[in-house]
Symmetry: C2
Subunit: 160 residues, 2 copies
Amino acid sequence: MYIHQLKDESMGKIEEAIKQSEFKDNFNKVVVNLLYTHSYLVTFQTTVLKPMDLSPEQYNVLRILRGQQGKPATIAAIQERMLNNMSNASRLVDKLKAKGLVKREECPLNRRKVDVVITAEGLSLLELLEPQITNMNKKAIHLEDQEVALLNELLDKLRG
Amino acid sequence: MYIHQLKDESMGKIEEAIKQSEFKDNFNKVVVNLLYTHSYLVTFQTTVLKPMDLSPEQYNVLRILRGQQGKPATIAAIQERMLNNMSNASRLVDKLKAKGLVKREECPLNRRKVDVVITAEGLSLLELLEPQITNMNKKAIHLEDQEVALLNELLDKLRG
DNA sequence: CTACAACTAATGTATATACATCAATTGAAA
DNA sequence: TTTCAATTGATGTATATACATTAGTTGTAG
């Protein structure tokens, strides 16, 4: 059971933001609201990542590889975990390799596959970014801890 | 005052979806959750729009122009209302014009400006799409009306 | 063993995005 | 009036995305 109270100032925000006076229904509205909020967050993320010459998706791939804890990941495995899951991990890994942030080697057991591993440089870059990202998140997200938890659950349920 | 009850099945969904076992904090988690949900919704949207040869952003521009109710919009005005607000409306309008969905004329009062108006073809395309989009939204969003309203308020408050 | 289907990654292409720069037009200051 | 800065949109460039196709590798059916 969740009890939640929102302040009056937050009413009707999305209508003002995109200067649309009315939505056909709440479902339509929530789609627009999510797309708009996505853009809002990516803009914040970019301000932190851009000075490090990282795109949001490159950053995402680095975190996926860190999550492997030393184990190599194939291109397909990275793709599966990516947030934009229809794109191609192959070229993103190319870019990261060019910057020395990942290594890529032919998998010895199956020469079709490629083993991708994050390098020490990649790991230290993530460590450098972590406090900045945390800080940025706190600034960008004007919600209490309880509201953030509720939002997480609603999003999970949305995708069902 | 909002009272909300979520089912147990929805717990921990984002962790499974991207196969990440743990997040540093709830703020970090909600950012990933929003990015992931965005991708989920765009994928659904695309299934409806692609048969009509419309990209999500082209569709967005058409709806912005319909919202003008006959009044022309300048490129700058469109850009301001776009969900991805740093991009260029100019080339999107080009594409829509090539399909006959919008008209573009030099503004008589200020020759730097351009008046963009949706055409009858553009309006009927939107009318054709509307029930499909509504239907798709209902299928994609596994939330009750009350939860959708709550999600809208949380997103508005998030951006503060 | 050979041939072929399935798998895996890389590549090609069109579109979109992010951002910088350019060119035309306007309005205002000198 | 002339000049110049601001405005507005178009264009250039690099990157990313969505999707189709290709190429090499593997496993398996005949």
